[in-house]
Symmetry: none
């Protein structure tokens, strides 16, 4: 069973709104095991909406059209579907009564425009779930010698979501005769490039492809790490989880140290959990990252059980006066180490990370952008490390953040 | 001139990533006056990518394909374009050298996979703007008796954006022989709701609509403020700028104090510029924002001329011991004021902002999530203010950040 998604709205094409509805629908379809190979956006134009529906019907079994069901002159999804079906629009007296009643109950006069929403293509039916004023529509059409189905849903996200989950997915699953369940798990890694991971997993990837027991995808996600996603399908939720568990273990053992989470946790969550389980408090001393590490750590709810605070020592004097860095060069191993020690002392924490370096655009102390010295302090022992990071100012800061937390993670996970 | 956008990636269809690239490209196309009537998403499948390109070429003059140019086996946009053109892929020695040099400069071994990125369809050319390892491609094909053009851009947003603006838009505009120039300016505001701004601008908005000399749009942008965008079109760049200048002045005078920038600057940039022009250094003391304010300030290149540092006093003891807050409740006016004074003393800066409060999900000291006490310190004089902020943990932190910087902005702009 193949189902396409068409999002309707000129504002989507102009980038005034990002189309998140299609992503939601695509995710829901994949969860119930329905393929969605194409998704498109089209403006508020009757001819072009009809064209898009026709193309979709030509290569798929079902189409979900999202948006253009409101009461204004711009809302012409109903008309376009009627054109595709070759039928006129007819007013549905039940919808008309319902819309009138909704306005009455709110003590408001119904603008006559709203009666447009009571019109449906002749022969189409109204979806049984109706959370708002815009009624969802279901129509069957013959195409390519087959009966295919068009669903029209409103573009307002919560209305669309209720109708999709409550009416469209059950109907589609029934049409498809689907028994199978789909599921996926995300493994997060750091420290290797996408192509290096791909190379290390190549034989396993081939084996997976041949057996068909799961699929594998890579996803570079900046400060969130490089993700490896495993997806599989089976008859029951339980079987899906069992297969995923086995394959996740395989990938984790092939990638070793590079894996920081097999459950899609962020690096911050992993480091906070490691500290908490070992009864350690954490602090940061930040120059080039300027508070980014602290900000990311404190975005995690409950971080206050572990995180004590940070000293952002952007000016050199703050490094010298507050953190006790010895006057001299501040972009070097020694300064990073002294910052990490200073953080533990000043903030009263057990472990710390520290970062100093050059984010750019200008060089500093003879170092080009991307040169970063970081340090971790565990049990009073400091370990510095130099990094060469790619990208612009923003990326250098983000990569510095995840890189130094990863160093702390590796030290803590070997500590017990 | 019609240009379609095709976003490539199975993860887009599955809703694992929301496709924001198409929205960006659509906006940029509309800004230079190029129509984009259809946009689509397709998975990492060679045949279907080629199909999508063919459909697009059948109804438009140009296609921008975004994504699928990486080094892995999944990245097959190059192959699909070659299929559409009916040519093989050939290795470009210049790109090969460039990729090798990039890995060398980072001191890393190049995985052999990366050489895939040096392959281009025979007859296609490489875009002159190459910010990352993935080279952008430009190919012309005959379709429907016309020469049409395909651009392939990487899916990584910053790389795509640099190539689009630097290479694709100029090329498309030249092909379209576009005479009329479109331009826009963004006014940023803080402290009023969208509906309050709309109400204040209503008569002016009506006047604009009737005259047709510019269009007005609102855009709520979280920590970036609430944006008001003016767009106009004329025969020359100079005339566009003149009209926009006049209208921006009108809007700014109607909105008064709420406007923090008439040139799309962030609140951080505005505050840093105010400090610099008055010869003041700046620091922050942060609890609920956990370093977010410092992190935002230091994201601005050149912030080191003004910003000295931050104390993130997440644990109460850090507030007491390091910042000199008197022991007692820490979510109140007094604590915020003492934090601001402490920041100036400890960091040796002239002015400061401080924030303490509850981001949630749990209440603290009897205050619910969204209760925030902040303070500014200018010329040694502290001014506290209580805020009630809406939203979840993330939004409370973001709104606290822009709100306290806005208080400092207003104090500094009245200081001279």
């Amino acid at each position: 069973m193949r189902c396409e998604v068409i999002a309707v709205g000129t504002e989507l094409l102009l980038g005034q709104i990002v189309d998140t509805n299609s992503a939601f629908i695509g995710e829901q379809l994949s969860m119930v095991g329905i393929d969605s190979f194409f998704q498109s956006k089209v403006g508020d134009n009757r001819l072009r909406i009809a064209q898009a529906i026709q193309i979709a019907l030509g290569r798929s079994d079902a189409v979900i059209v999202c948006g253009g069901l409101g009461p204004t002159q711009d809302d012409i999804t109903r008309d376009a579907i009627a054109d595709v079906m070759g039928v006129p629009l007819v007013r549905d007296p039940l919808i008309e009564d319902r819309i009138r009643a909704m306005f009455m109950s709110r003590g408001r006069q119904m603008p006559s425009n709203n009666l447009r929403q009571a019109e449906v293509p002749a022969g189409a039916s109204v979806l049984p779930v109706q959370p708002g004023t815009a009624p969802g529509i279901r129509a069957t059409v013959a195409a390519g010698g087959q009966d295919k189905v068009i669903y029209a849903l409103p573009g307002v996200p919560w209305e669309m979501q209720e109708m999709l989950v409550g009416a469209v997915l059950p109907d589609l699953s029934e049409r498809a005769g689907l028994a199978s369940v789909i599921g996926s798990r995300v493994i997060r890694t750091w420290g290797h490039s996408e192509s290096a991971l791909a190379e290390r997993l190549a034989p396993y990837h081939d084996e997976l492809d041949q057996s068909g027991r799961a699929t594998l995808a890579f996803l570079a996600s900046g400060i969130e790490g490089l993700k490896v996603r495993l997806t599989t399908r089976a008859d029951s939720h339980r079987e899906v989880q069992r297969t995923l568990g086995r394959e996740v273990d395989r990938v984790a053992s092939l990638l070793g140290d590079a894996v920081f989470s097999t459950d899609d946790e962020s690096m911050e969550e992993v480091v906070l959990a490691l500290c908490e389980s070992q009864g350690l408090t954490l602090g940061t001393a930040e120059s080039v990252t300027g508070g980014l590490i602290a900000s990311r750590l404190t975005e995690v709810a409950g971080s206050s059980r572990v995180f004590r605070g940070a000293v952002v020592s952007y000016a050199s004097e703050v490094k010298f006066d507050l953190l006790g860095v010895r006057p001299g060069p501040v972009i070097c191993d020694e300064a990073a180490g002294e910052m990490a020690l200073g953080a533990c002392r000043v903030l009263g924490c057990d472990v710390s990370v520290a970062v100093t370096g050059v984010a750019g655009p200008d060089p500093q102390e003879g170092h080009g952008p991307g040169t970063v010295f970081c340090a971790t302090c565990v049990d009073g022992e400091v370990r510095p490390k130099m990094l060469r990071l790619p990208g612009d100012r923003r990326r250098v800061r983000q990569f510095a953040c995840i890189s130094v937390l990863d160093l702390l993670r590796m030290r803590l996970s070997k500590r017990v």
